[in-house]
């Protein structure tokens, strides 16, 4: 199926989902649905790097939080109070005032760009080396970004920041439905992008890196360049997933922005679903995401996370190709 046709199908499916949710009318579904959609983006983003090229990113929380906190920073930005000094001329930024606070789609782009740049930077410094070093660097990155944000008073530091939702909402009347719609759109874009990559020459290149990087280089694949592309895209999407978060929670502090939940879920969901295709993260996110949303009501969130962690370990040992892998294996046995 061509990418454009797939995109169309995905948009249709998304429209149907949105329509069903509206029919149900229960706001809780929009709240919970937002979280699941967010995980679809996170899991898909992680998989572009981890599943396709085999380079593991343990710092998803960092990229996600970069998106969230760039929103906070921009939300608090009041151009009228600032003056830019350019070549000796002072340019008061008050003329930008009507643009602020920026609409969410713009914030998403900002979050994506900044997170993408951080991904590019980290990748540039560490991707010439073994995958293990990249993984370690991302772990350390998560700690550092959290430290930086916690010490940055402008965005609230450890005390956190309160975000007021705008009074008027474009497209739909209800703010939470608006956020849901945005995240739905982002999920469609992420999944469509992942699929487009997978079926393209770039995707083949990624797969060679995963299979055997030395042989890939010897075959003419510019491995460093491809890895940097993957890291940047992956980081950017994670940042985009995080950008609307402050408006969803209305109060953001480092503890919730850098929550362990993001770190483990962005890895567990693709691994449980299956890392070699775009379907895996989607399935994993919907499955694990929904289970966790239901479970949070009945059991504590810490026990919730513990279960996800145990599921991760179990799948890695027993079903390394995830649910998709299990299904593929079952079909192969039928053919044999």
């Amino acid at each position: 199926m061509r990418s454009s046709a797939f995109l169309l199908c995905a948009v249709v499916v998304a429209a149907v989902v949105f329509g069903l949710f509206r029919l149900r009318g229960d706001e809780y579904y929009f709240f919970a649905g937002y979280v699941v959609l967010q995980y679809i983006v996170l899991a898909t983003a992680w998989n572009i790097l981890g599943g396709y090229t085999g380079y593991v990113n343990f710092g998803s929380a960092a990229f996600f939080a970069i998106g969230a906190y760039s929103t906070v920073a921009l939300h608090k930005f009041q151009p009228a109070k600032w003056t830019l000094s350019v070549f000796g001329w002072d340019v008061p930024l008050g003329f930008l005032d009507p643009l602020f606070p920026l609409p969410i789609p713009v914030l998403i782009v900002f979050g994506g760009v900044i997170a993408g740049l951080v991904g590019l930077g980290t990748g540039y410094l560490t991707l010439r080396l073994r995958g293990a070093f990249f993984a370690i660097a991302t772990l350390a990155l998560a700690v550092v970004v959290q430290t930086l944000v916690t010490n940055w008073d402008y965005v609230g530091g450890s005390r956190g920041a309160y975000i007021l939702r705008p009074a008027s909402v474009p497209l739909v009347g209800n703010y939470i439905e608006y956020l849901f719609l945005i995240m739905l759109f982002l999920a469609v874009v992420a999944v469509a992008t992942a699929r487009a990559i997978e079926c393209s020459r770039l995707g083949y290149g990624f797969a060679t890196i995963r299979d055997d990087e030395l042989a890939a280089e010897a075959s003419g694949v510019p491995t460093l360049r491809l890895k940097l592309i993957a890291t940047t895209l992956s980081g950017a999407f994670m940042g985009m997933a995080g950008a609307p978060l402050p408006y969803y929670v209305t109060y953001l502090d480092p503890a919730s922005g850098f929550s362990l939940a993001y770190a483990v879920n962005s890895i567990a969901m693709p691994l449980v679903g299956g890392t070699t295709t775009w379907i895996g993260p989607l399935v994993g996110a919907i499955l694990l995401g929904t289970i966790q949303q239901i479970a949070t009501v009945t059991i504590s969130s810490a026990v919730n996370l513990l279960i996800v962690g145990l599921i991760l370990i179990a799948f890695v040992i027993i079903a390394p190709n995830g649910l998709v892998g299990l299904v593929q294996g079952w079909f192969r046995k039928k053919d044999a």
Binding site: Y204, A207, A215, A216, A218, G220, P222, T276
Partner: protein
């Protein structure tokens, strides 16, 4: 006198304090069939890795096709026309045999020509490569389902897919039977007749002698002989190096 295709000058490679290669000098002309032999650990694979750019040599230069390639990455050297096959076959396991061959076509041939082969052309080239190495009919097989000799043929086919001027075949025949070895040797001669310069690194003397027009011997990181195969194997230093192991 044809201009040299590959020139290695004063190449030294160290691992910590250990010199894997010391002051290697060699020249290969277009169309040559060169055999490279030496005891285990003499540095043969290290030399190939340095020439390809997988390893960085401390001193010395490598010139390919008249231009220095030091500092270029492996994939850039491949695009210039250098190809190598690996000692232990390293196929792309998540793709079929045919897709394995498409990778060098996409990433080397297309990149070099700055154009794209159409899907039909790609198919045609893959089929031709499979015919060349004797793997017709295996296009849709998975690497894990291939036999040893088939995997080695795939290795060579993949190296050839990059349309190289120079092919370095690193122990392409280890563990194969007599007839399989002869099979690969005649394949390599066929490739050479198509204009590919070949350096064959091997332990199997029968293969080396029947293939090479020139023989280079490496012992403990140093080149101790370089010349006509018949003469080289009678060289007392060479004999001592092998018997002495």
């Amino acid at each position: 006198m044809a201009e040299a295709l590959l020139e290695v000058a004063d190449l030294t490679k160290r691992f910590g304090g250990f010199a894997a290669l010391e002051n290697i000098n060699l020249t290969v002309s277009p169309g040559d069939r060169v055999g490279l032999i030496g005891p285990n650990g003499s540095g043969k694979s290290t030399l190939v890795n340095c020439i390809c750019g997988t390893l960085h040599n401390e001193t010395g230069t490598v010139r390919f096709d008249g231009a220095p390639v030091d500092g270029l990455k492996t994939h850039e050297r491949t695009r210039l026309g250098m190809a190598r096959s690996f000692q232990l076959p390293r196929p792309f396991t998540s793709m079929t045999v045919k897709d394995n061959l498409r990778i060098p076509l996409i990433y080397t041939v297309d990149a070099r020509a700055k154009s794209r082969l159409s899907p039909a052309e790609l198919d045609e080239r893959c089929a031709e490569l499979l015919r060349l190495v004797g793997l017709e009919g295996k296009a849709h097989k998975w690497p894990r389902d291939l036999t040893q000799v088939e995997m080695r043929k795939l290795e060579l086919a993949r190296a050839m897919a990059a349309e190289p001027k120079l092919l370095m075949a690193d122990e392409a025949m280890a563990g194969l039977s007599h007839s399989e070895v002869a099979d690969i040797v005649s394949l390599l001669i066929r490739l050479n007749e198509r204009g590919v310069t070949i350096i064959l690194i091997e332990h199997i003397m029968s293969a080396v002698m029947s293939f090479s027009q020139r023989l280079i011997v490496l012992v403990s990181g140093r080149k101790i002989a370089d010349g006509v195969p018949q003469e080289v194997i009678q060289d007392p230093d060479v004999v001592r190096a092998y018997l002495g192991q």
